[in-house]
Structures are given as C-alpha cells and as structure tokens.
C-alpha cells in the first residue's frame, strides 16, 4: 500500500489523549492503518497499548483526539458506536467467551441478535468458521471443556462471524500455555494472509517480524518509534526501543 490519504485508510488515530483522573495513559497517539495492513503494537506493560485498542472500538472513552474507523468517527457515546463495534472485531487476552454457551452458540449469538440473521444461516456460518480455526469437531463443547488455545480460536471465530473490517487483538496469547500459543498465532497468520486488516498488541516479536507490515513501539502513552519490522526490530533508532527489544528477545 502506498501512502494513502487518511480518508482512504481503515483506521486513523490522531492526537489521541486518554486520562484516568490525573494520570495520562495516552498522550497524543497518532497513526494510520491502511486496508489489509497488519500493525503490531509492542511495548512494556502499562504503556497504554490495551487502552488504545479499547478506545478504538469505544469500550473506553477518551479525553481528546480523533479516531476514524472505516469512515466512521468513533465517539463512545455517539449514535454510531454500535456500527463501529460491528466493524471492529476484538480479541481479548482472557478470551471472554460466554461460558453458558457451546463454542458454536458463542459464534452464532452476535450475528443472530445484533444482525438479525436467520438461525440456519448463522449455524452454517458458525460451522464454517469453526472449521476455519481448526475446531470443526468442537462445536458442541463448552468453553470450560476447551484448552486456552482452543478457546482463543473460538473467540477469533466469534469475532469473524460479524464480518469485521478490522480485527483488534489485545495480547491474544499472553494468557496461554506455551504449547498452545502456536496454534493461535497460526490462525492469526492465516487471517493476515487472507487480507484482514489487523491491529495486534503482543509480546510475540517473532510474530511481529513474520506477519507484521509495520510495528509501533509504545511506552508511557506515546509512540516512541514506528517502522517496518526490519527497521524497528533490527535497527531501532530510539535507545528506549533498543533496550526493550534486547530485553524481550
């Protein structure tokens, strides 16, 4: 993607400021994501990465700045916030599946009640999505009967059922056993290859290098450095970035 004007982007964040009381969590964040791009956000815990994602789909209010998602101006209490949420799928660190519903019911629910699609159509779609994330046989399992990696894959299928234009991943593998991290990253990689626009907050630098088109390094509420994986991971310009990458690798 060549330098597209902001209006053509999938996501544009300009001068985003978020304060909790007297604490400034995000202090003027600006970046763009073009359609099909995979943006990976890295940085130390408490640097505002999760808060940033939560502002994008209106789970969190922000103090000032501007977010435009697929042409919609995001305002947490605005009339179009539900439209924003339908266009932005979100994956949580702790999956947040609905424990009283089976994997398949978890996937069917939102299209059925929020998009009012017919039950049979939702069911077929759920089966297809389960197959896509490698869980075709697990539709009737409850979340409590699945491993962490399987639950996170169900969560990805659940988000995809809404046909989002953009997927937000909030540390999707941080709560997983090491042996199930790979299966979740593989699904995410497959999504990226399929052309999904993604914003991924993660500590998995290998994933960032392999799948990311661009990496943002965030610390203390600001974007410290922004570049391609090659630039940012191999030759970080900023000493803070260098220090972080050396510590994580």
């Amino acid at each position: 993607m060549s330098a597209a004007p902001a209006a053509a982007g999938m996501l544009s964040v300009e001068g985003l400021v978020k304060r909790f009381g007297s604490r400034t969590v995000l202090n003027g964040i600006t970046f763009q994501v073009t359609p099909g791009e995979v943006l990976v956000i890295i940085g130390p815990s408490g640097g505002g990465k999760s808060t940033l994602l939560r502002c994008v789909n209106g789970l969190e209010d922000f103090s000032s700045g501007r977010i435009v998602l697929d042409g919609l101006v995001v305002q947490p209490s605005g009339a179009n916030i539900w439209e924003v949420r339908k266009r932005a799928g979100m994956i949580f660190q702790h999956f947040n599946l609905f424990p009283h519903l089976t994997a398949r019911q978890n996937i069917e629910l939102a299209p059925r009640v929020a998009l009012r699609r017919p039950a049979s159509e939702c069911r077929e779609r759920a089966e297809a999505l389960l197959a896509r994330v490698g869980l075709a046989e697990f539709g009737h399992h409850y979340p409590g009967q699945l491993s962490g990696g399987q639950q996170q894959r169900v969560a990805i299928a659940r988000a995809l059922a809404m046909d989002p234009k953009l997927m937000l991943f909030d540390e999707p593998t941080s709560a997983l056993d090491p042996e199930t991290v790979g299966e979740v990253l593989a699904v995410m990689k497959e999504l990226a290859t399929g052309g999904m626009t993604m914003v991924v907050v993660t500590h998995e630098l290998n994933f960032a290098k392999e799948v990311g088109d661009r990496i943002l390094f965030m610390d203390a509420g600001v974007v410290v450095e922004d570049g391609t994986p090659g630039e940012l991971l191999s030759q970080p310009r900023n000493p803070r970035t260098r220090q972080f990458i050396q510590a994580v690798l």
Partner: protein, 216 residues
C-alpha cells in the same frame, strides 16, 4: 390425637391456601425483583437509590408490621378495602420482592464485566446482552436464593392469620378451639415441613439443571 382426623381435609385445604397465597406473592415478588433488580444494577443513580430505599425499608421492618400496614394503613390512604387475602398477598409480595431484588442484583453482579465487554465488542446491545449473556449466568445465583425466598414466604404467610386470614395456621387454631387439643397445630407443623422440604428439594433439582459443562 384421634380427634383431629375428621379435620384433616380442612387442614390440607388450609395448606393449599397457604401455598396459593405464597405462590401468588412469589410471582409478584419475582416481577418486582427482576424489574427493580435490573434498575438497581443500572447506571442511573437516582433509580439505584430508590431501589436501595425500598430494599432496606422492607428488610428492616417486621413482616407483621408490614401486614398491618397493608391491611389497615393502605385502605385509609387510598380509600380501598383489602380483603385479608389481598392484604396478605400484597404484603408478602412486597416483602418477598425486596429479597428478590437482592437475589437478582447479586446474580447480575456475579457475571463479570468481561462478559459485558465481550458482548459490547461484538455489537450486542444492552438488552440482548442482558437476555442472552447475563441472565442465563445470573440465574445460577438467583435461583437458589429464590427457592429460599419462596420458603420464607410460605412460612411468613402464617403471620397473616392475625388479620383473620384463614390459611393453614388459622385453620389449625380454629380446629384447636373446637376440639381442645394441640394436635391440629402438630399436623399444621408437619404440613409446613412437608411443603418447605419439598420446595427445597425441588429447588436443588432445578439448580442442578442450570449447571453447564466444565468449569470456568
């Protein structure tokens, strides 16, 4: 002891009236509990406070006093006349309602914030989230409490004998006054026990049905 035998039918009829009034009060209490419970967990401060006042007031005043209020007070205030049956039902409904509000509130609050966020992130609105995500999980906490409330309504309905409402206890007292024996009260006690024990067994069976697979 044998003197009570001819009156057994009457006592069973009294038990059925007790059951009927308690069940009617429970249904009203459930409606009150769900509506006020949802209000109590909403983010409207004034409504929250009003729910709080209702719950605290009803829980701090003895049921007997509330019953007197329903039977003697309300007719004075609103120029309506309640039969003992209506007054008993109304008092029990308001009484059970306050406890039900708490049962519904703690049920709703037992469902973590992450469930609301997951639903919101999927574009599912408040009422749909309440219906399909929160309520089915809240019910596991609310239902056992509701069974307990039904039992206390059943026992509490005996207080209504004081305003001349002929339910199980008053039936037993009337029979005792005829045959001059305590046995009708003993039978009444057994009938109360059977009803309450049956309800609590039924309650735990329903509770089991609402469990779902696995942990978490």
């Amino acid at each position: 002891m044998a003197g009570v035998v001819p009156y057994l039918g009457l006592l069973v009829k009294g038990a059925l009236i007790t059951l009927e009034v308690s069940a009617l009060a429970l249904v009203c209490a459930l409606v009150i509990g769900v509506v006020v419970g949802i209000v109590a967990t909403s983010r409207f401060r004034a409504a929250q406070a009003a729910a709080r006042v209702y719950v605290e007031l009803v829980r701090s005043i003895p049921l007997l006093v509330q019953l007197f209020f329903a039977y003697y007070g309300l007719p004075l205030m609103f120029k309506v006349n309640f039969t003992p049956y209506q007054a008993a039902t109304a008092a029990l409904a308001l009484y059970g309602g306050a406890y039900m509000v708490e049962a519904v509130r703690s049920g709703i609050q037992s469902v973590g914030r992450n469930q609301w966020e997951a639903a919101r992130a999927l574009g599912i609105g408040y009422w749909h989230t309440m219906t399909y995500v929160v309520a089915p999980q809240a019910i596991r906490v609310t239902l056992p409490a509701a069974a307990g409330i039904f039992i206390s309504l059943l026992k509490g309905s005996s207080v209504a004998s004081i305003i001349g409402f002929v339910e199980l206890l008053q039936t037993a007292v009337n029979i005792r006054n005829t045959i001059f024996s305590l046995s009708p009260l003993l039978v009444a006690g057994i009938l109360y026990f059977l009803m309450c024990y049956g309800l609590s067994r039924f309650g735990s069976r329903v509770e089991r049905r609402f469990r779902y697979g696995g942990a978490s």
